[in-house]
């Protein structure tokens, strides 16, 4: 499985790739040796995953004396198990195994008078009430700060909690008269 071309959508005929992609976070632990990180990332790309970000916590050491690495990536849901398997086949220690441990990532777009309605309050409410972590935020307000603005927030959510979190975000949007564009969850789209 490791020698297929990277980023090809045709490499696994059994995977359903037209149902959309979903973001995943995988925690790995690496031996502190040159080239370890690269060899850990190759199986992800080779199996249809798209790397979003890598947190290489060089200062931290796991109880076994290894370096924890957190990888954010997205892939079609059907491909995810294959990626984890390929990582293990490549001798990488995947710390958080079992689907229930993988965090889910979703994006939402908020539209409306974001600044006037106190964007930072909106985001803290999302974090508190929807039990989510705002990982990053892009904001555009082409009409100036008192006009209609749009923001895209990438949220980390406990596995299996996306539907509830989105319901809560919808309520917050209604409270603040914001339009919430929710993702079509890939589990629904696959």
């Amino acid at each position: 499985m490791g020698n297929v071309p990277a980023s090809s959508d045709e490499d696994d005929p059994d995977a359903e790739t037209d149902g959309g992609v979903r973001a995943y976070t995988v925690r790995l632990e690496l031996v502190d040796e040159p080239g370890e990180l690269l060899s850990a990332l190759a199986p992800i790309a080779d199996n249809g995953g798209n790397l979003l970000s890598i947190h290489h916590e060089r200062g931290n050491i796991t109880p076994r004396g290894h370096i924890p690495v957190e990888v954010d990536m997205e892939c079609p849901p059907d491909r995810f198990d294959g990626i984890v398997e390929a990582l293990r086949d490549a001798g990488i220690n995947v710390i958080q195994a079992g689907e229930e441990h993988y965090g889910e990532e979703i994006s939402v777009v908020l539209i409306g008078h974001l600044v006037e309605t106190d964007l930072s309050n909106t985001l803290s409410r999302i974090e508190d009430e929807a039990d989510a972590i705002v990982q990053d935020l892009s904001l555009t307000s082409p009409e100036g700060t008192d006009g209609v603005a749009s923001a895209r927030a990438r949220l980390a959510i406990n596995s299996g909690r996306s539907t509830e979190a989105l319901e809560t975000i919808r309520t917050i949007g209604t409270d603040k008269d914001l339009t919430v564009v929710e993702p079509l969850l890939a589990g629904d789209a696959a």
Binding site: G20, S107, P183, L184
Partner: protein, 315 residues
Amino acid sequence: MKLAILGAGDVGRSVADLAGEYGHDVVALADSSHAAVDPDGIAVESVLERKVGGEAVGTADPEDVFDTDYDVLVEATPTTLGDAEPGFSHVQRALEADRHAVLANKGPVAERYEELRALEAESAGSIRFEATVGGAIPILSTIEDSTPEAVTAVRGVLNGTANFILTRMAAEGLDYEHVLAEAQDLGVAEADPTFDVDGTDAALKFVILANVLSDGGFALEDATVEGIQNIPGSALDLAAEDGRTIRLIGEATRDGVRVGPRLVPENSALAVTGTRNIVQIETRHAGSLHTSGRGAGGPETATAVLSDVGRLPPL
């Protein structure tokens, strides 16, 4: 089969025009004020010429249609909400006379589904309504073939106007009003596009789908509906930075109906472009089926009507 067509808009006229090709005779074609009726078959070509030329379709009264000997009533009058009249009464009269009815009009099937099924149960005739959902795309027949019990959800894009607007906004970075004006110039959006952009049209179709899945129980008022009027071009730009786009997506399950703008991956099957429609039929035993095509238009919708006619049992 002998067809009596009510409604002489794009769909009604196209059904009349194509009926011969499918082996059927047209014994009546009526608009709201006049009718052409001939038990031996109307002269379709000259009737259509008159209608297009702005003349009356014929000299008969629309009421005369019901006294003609027909097998299938084709209900292609404009969709109305609430009591869904006069479409509902037209279908009722056909069923009470033990005739079949094929609908292109969404109103009766979305708003009064259980009443239609009750009338059908008492009649020798039956009803079909493929043309009400997704124009030319075989959606209801696909569900019927999979058996509705085995279908858990139907999702997708069933309004070409809204999809065209969102596609153009994303491609050109323009705002809603600009693109809407362009769509109206091109004839993609109607002069009054309200039902297309506020989600009502898509919601009616997903309500019909929910009714099929649950054998009734839903009307438009049960649907949660949001339109695309509040989506600025900047929101589509933000979505694109993340490899996503926004589409007006409907969902019908046994639990309810929801229509609203949703984020979908740019390269996903549901992110069709332009006026194209698509649905994803989620099944219990066979994964997801996707079916896509032209969701509106006279000849396109007429093919769905005529496929329905072909599936009707002999009376």
